[in-house]
C-alpha cells in the first residue's frame, strides 16, 4: 500500500514540472506587455529597465529554470503590474477564501449527494425517488449563476431570510455561495450514487451476502456501499479540483474576494507572474486532488493495487 502511494507521489513531480512548462510556454504566446498596458504610458528606457529587472529578456530556459527554483522554494515572484506586491502576498490573502469556498461546496455536494443518492436507490421507483431524481436533474442542468441569482432573489431579497448577498465573513454569508456552487455537483453525485447502487445490488455477490443471512443493514452498509462508492470517488477528484479552481463565477456574483477576480484581471493586464503563480498553484491543487482520489480508489478497490501503476 505504501509503495503504491509513494509511487504515485513520485510521479506527480514530473507532472508538475511539465505543467509549469506548458503554462510557461502558453504565457509567452500571449502578446502584450505588462508595462505597456498600464494606464500611463511609460518611457522606453524605464520600460527596458523594468524588463531587465524582472528578467524578461533572458532566454526562455533560464526563465523557466529560475521559475522552477522559485516554485520549489515557495517563492512565486513579484507582481509585474501591482508594484510592491508579491504574488505570494496575493495568494496568501485571497486564496484561502477560494479554497474554503471550494472545499465547503465539495463537502456539501459529497455528503448530501451520497445521502440523497443512497436513499433514492433504496427506495427506487417510489415518490421519493422520482422527486429526488427530478430535482437532481434540474439542479445538474441549471448553470450555477442562475442558481446563485435565484437564491439571492428569493431567499435574500424577496423573503428576506437574513442571508447576506455578498462578502465572505459570517457563517450566514457563506451558505448561499456554497449552495450555489455545490448544487450542481451534488446533483451529479446523487445521480451517480443512485445508478451505481442499483447496479451493485443486482450483482451476484449481494445475493450471496443475503444467502448467508447477513442483516440487510450490513449488506447495504458494507457490501453495497463499498462497491458503489468506487465510481463516485473517481468522479470526486476532478470535481474537487474544479470546485476549487473554477469558483470564479460565484465569486463574482457574491463579491467574494477570492483569487477568481485577480486571475481574470491579471490575464487581461498581462501580469505574467501573477498569472503564472496562480495557474501553477491551481494546477498543483488539481493534481493533488487527483492523487488523493487515486489513493482512495486504491484503498476501496483492492484489485487495482496489484496492477502495476
Amino acid at each position: 500500500m505504501t509503495t503504491f502511494i509513494v509511487r504515485r507521489l513520485f510521479w506527480t513531480i514530473p507532472v508538475i514540472l511539465l505543467v509549469i512548462l506548458m503554462t510557461f510556454g502558453m504565457m509567452r504566446q500571449i502578446k502584450g506587455n505588462p508595462f505597456r498596458t498600464s494606464e500611463r504610458a511609460i518611457p522606453a528606457e524605464i520600460q527596458a529597465n523594468l524588463e531587465r529587472k524582472y528578467g524578461l529578456n533572458d532566454p526562455w530556459y533560464v526563465q523557466y529554470a529560475k521559475y522552477v527554483k522559485g516554485v520549489a522554494t515557495f517563492d512565486l515572484g513579484p507582481s509585474l503590474v501591482l508594484r510592491n506586491r508579491d504574488v505570494n502576498d496575493i495568494v496568501r490573502e485571497h486564496f484561502p477564501r477560494s479554497l474554503e469556498l471550494g472545499g465547503l461546496a465539495f463537502l456539501f455536494a459529497f455528503v448530501f449527494g451520497i445521502a440523497v443518492g443512497t436513499l433514492s436507490a433504496l427506495k427506487a421507483n417510489t415518490v421519493f425517488d422520482y422527486g429526488a431524481m427530478f430535482i437532481s436533474n434540474v439542479g445538474y442542468a441549471v448553470p450555477s449563476f442562475l442558481v446563485a441569482t435565484l437564491l439571492i432573489y428569493f431567499l435574500a431579497l424577496q423573503w428576506d431570510l437574513g442571508f447576506p448577498t455578498s462578502g465572505w465573513t459570517t457563517p450566514e454569508s457563506k451558505i448561499l455561495p456554497v449552495v450555489a456552487l455545490g448544487l450542481g455537483p451534488m446533483a451529479a453525485f446523487a445521480r451517480l450514487v443512485r445508478g451505481t447502487m442499483l447496479e451493485t445490488m443486482q450483482q451476484d455477490y449481494i445475493r450471496t451476502a443475503k444467502a448467508k443471512g447477513l442483516r440487510w443493514r450490513r449488506v447495504v452498509g458494507l457490501h453495497v456501499l463499498r462497491n458503489s462508492l468506487i465510481p463516485v470517488v473517481t468522479a470526486a477528484g476532478p470535481t474537487l479540483g474544479f470546485l476549487i479552481t473554477g469558483s470564479f463565477v460565484i465569486e463574482q456574483i457574491f463579491a467574494i474576494p477570492g483569487i477568481g477576480r485577480y486571475y481574470v484581471t491579471a490575464v487581461t493586464s498581462r501580469d505574467y507572474s501573477v498569472v503564472m503563480g496562480l495557474t501553477v498553484l491551481l494546477s498543483i491543487i488539481v493534481i493533488l486532488a487527483n492523487l488523493f482520489v487515486d489513493v482512495l480508489y486504491g484503498i476501496l478497490d483492492p484489485r487495482t493495487r496489484d496492477i502495476r501503476t
Partner: protein, 337 residues
C-alpha cells in the same frame, strides 16, 4: 418427517409483458443426510425453486403465489424477513453457480467467512478467524492461514468455489442447496469439487439439493432425482430407478443425448438433440408442457388438452405424462419393483 417438504410451490414473475409462471406446482421432500438432484434445461425453473426456498427471489416482480416450504416443521414462505435471515446461512446454506462473481471483490475472503460466523454466533473475531482457517483447510485450500487475508481475485475459479463451500459450511447448516456448483468450472476441477461436496456432506451429516443440467453430475452424487421441465416436475425417482428405467419421454431424451464413450449398445453416429425449444413460461402450452416436442404425442391425445397429473407409476417412482415408457405399445412389461 422429512427435513424439507415442498408442497405445490408456485412462484410467478409479474412483468410488464405478462406473468411468467416460472415454478408452477412443485412438490418434493428431502430427508436428512440425503441428496436430492434437480435436473433440467436452462429456464425450467430449478434455480427459481432454490431461491424460493431461501426466500431470495426478487420481491417486486416475483412472488410465491401458492404452496408451502416446510423446513423442520416451519413454513418458510410465511416467515417474516427477519426470521428468514436467521435461517439463511445458519440452517440452510446455498452456493451459487458462478464463483467469479459470487464473492465480493472488495472484501477479503477472511472477512466474508468470519462475518457469516459472527452473524449467527456470538464469538470474538479471533475465534471466528480460527474457525475460518479450519474451514479453508477442510475445503483443501493450501496454506489456509496465509490466504485468509487475500482478496478473491487472487484465487482461481475452482478455489473460489471451495471458498464458497467453506462459507456455506461455516455454521453447520442442516441443508445445503448447491445451484449448478460446477457448471462454470472445467471438467477436472468439477470432479474434485463434487467429491469434496460429497465428503463434506457425509462428514457434517447435511442434506443436499444439487441443481444441475448435467445428468452425469447427478448420477454420481444424488440419492434421488427430480426432473424438471417448464416449471414442473415431470419425473421423480431414486437415482438407480431413474437411470435404469426412465419413464418420461423427456427423461429418455435427456439420457439419449448423453455422449457415450463405451458400453454395450453404444450409439455411434450423431448425438441426439431434442428438437424445438423450451416453452415460453408466459404462455405455456395448455396442458402437458412437453407435448410440442414429444415424440409420442399426437394432436388428438388427451395430454394436449388436459394436464397430466403426477402419478406413482412404480413404488417411489413418479411421472407426469400420458406416455410413460412402460405403457407404450411394444414395451416390455417391467419386473415388479
Amino acid at each position: 418427517m422429512a427435513l424439507l417438504e415442498v408442497n405445490n410451490l408456485k412462484t410467478h414473475f409479474f412483468t410488464r409483458e405478462g406473468v411468467v409462471r416460472a415454478v408452477d406446482g412443485i412438490s418434493f421432500e428431502v430427508e436428512s443426510g440425503k441428496t436430492l438432484g434437480i435436473v433440467g434445461e436452462s429456464g425450467c425453473g430449478k434455480s427459481v425453486t432454490a431461491l424460493s426456498i431461501m426466500g431470495l427471489i426478487p420481491k417486486p416482480p416475483a412472488k410465491i403465489v401458492d404452496g408451502s416450504v416446510l423446513f423442520d416443521g416451519r413454513d418458510l414462505t410465511k416467515l417474516p424477513e427477519k426470521q428468514l435471515e436467521d435461517v439463511r446461512g445458519r440452517e440452510i446454506a446455498m452456493i451459487f453457480q458462478d464463483p467469479m462473481t459470487s464473492l465480493n471483490p472488495t472484501l477479503t475472503i477472511g472477512t466474508q467467512i468470519t462475518e457469516t460466523i459472527r452473524r449467527h454466533y456470538d464469538v470474538p473475531k479471533r475465534q471466528a478467524r480460527k474457525k475460518a482457517v479450519e474451514l479453508l483447510e477442510e475445503v483443501q485450500i493450501p496454506r489456509a492461514a496465509d490466504r485468509l487475508d487475500d482478496y478473491p481475485h487472487r484465487f482461481s475459479g475452482g478455489m473460489r468455489q471451495r471458498v464458497m463451500i467453506a462459507i456455506a459450511l461455516s455454521c453447520d447448516p442442516k441443508l445445503l442447496i448447491a445451484d449448478e456448483p460446477t457448471t462454470a468450472l472445467d471438467v477436472t476441477v468439477q470432479a474434485a469439487v463434487l467429491d469434496l461436496l460429497d465428503d463434506l456432506r457425509q462428514a457434517h451429516e447435511m442434506a443436499m439439493i444439487l441443481i444441475t443440467h448435467d445428468m452425469g453430475v447427478v448420477a454420481e452424487s444424488a440419492d434421488d432425482i427430480a426432473v424438471m421441465y417448464g416449471g414442473q416436475i415431470v419425473e421423480q425417482a431414486s437415482v438407480n430407478d431413474l437411470f435404469d428405467r426412465p419413464e418420461h419421454p423427456y427423461t429418455e431424451a435427456l439420457l439419449g443425448a448423453l455422449p457415450q464413450i463405451e458400453g454395450e449398445g453404444i450409439r455411434a453416429g450423431r448425438l441426439t438433440a431434442i428438437p424445438g425449444r423450451p416453452p415460453d413460461l408466459k404462455n405455456p402450452p395448455p396442458a402437458c408442457r412437453f407435448a410440442p416436442r414429444c415424440k409420442y404425442a399426437n394432436a388428438n391425445d388427451t395430454c394436449t388438452t388436459v394436464m397430466p397429473e403426477l402419478r406413482e407409476i412404480h413404488k417411489d417412482h413418479w411421472v407426469r405424462t400420458a406416455h410413460p415408457a412402460c405403457e407404450r405399445a411394444g414395451a416390455q412389461v417391467p419386473v415388479q419393483a
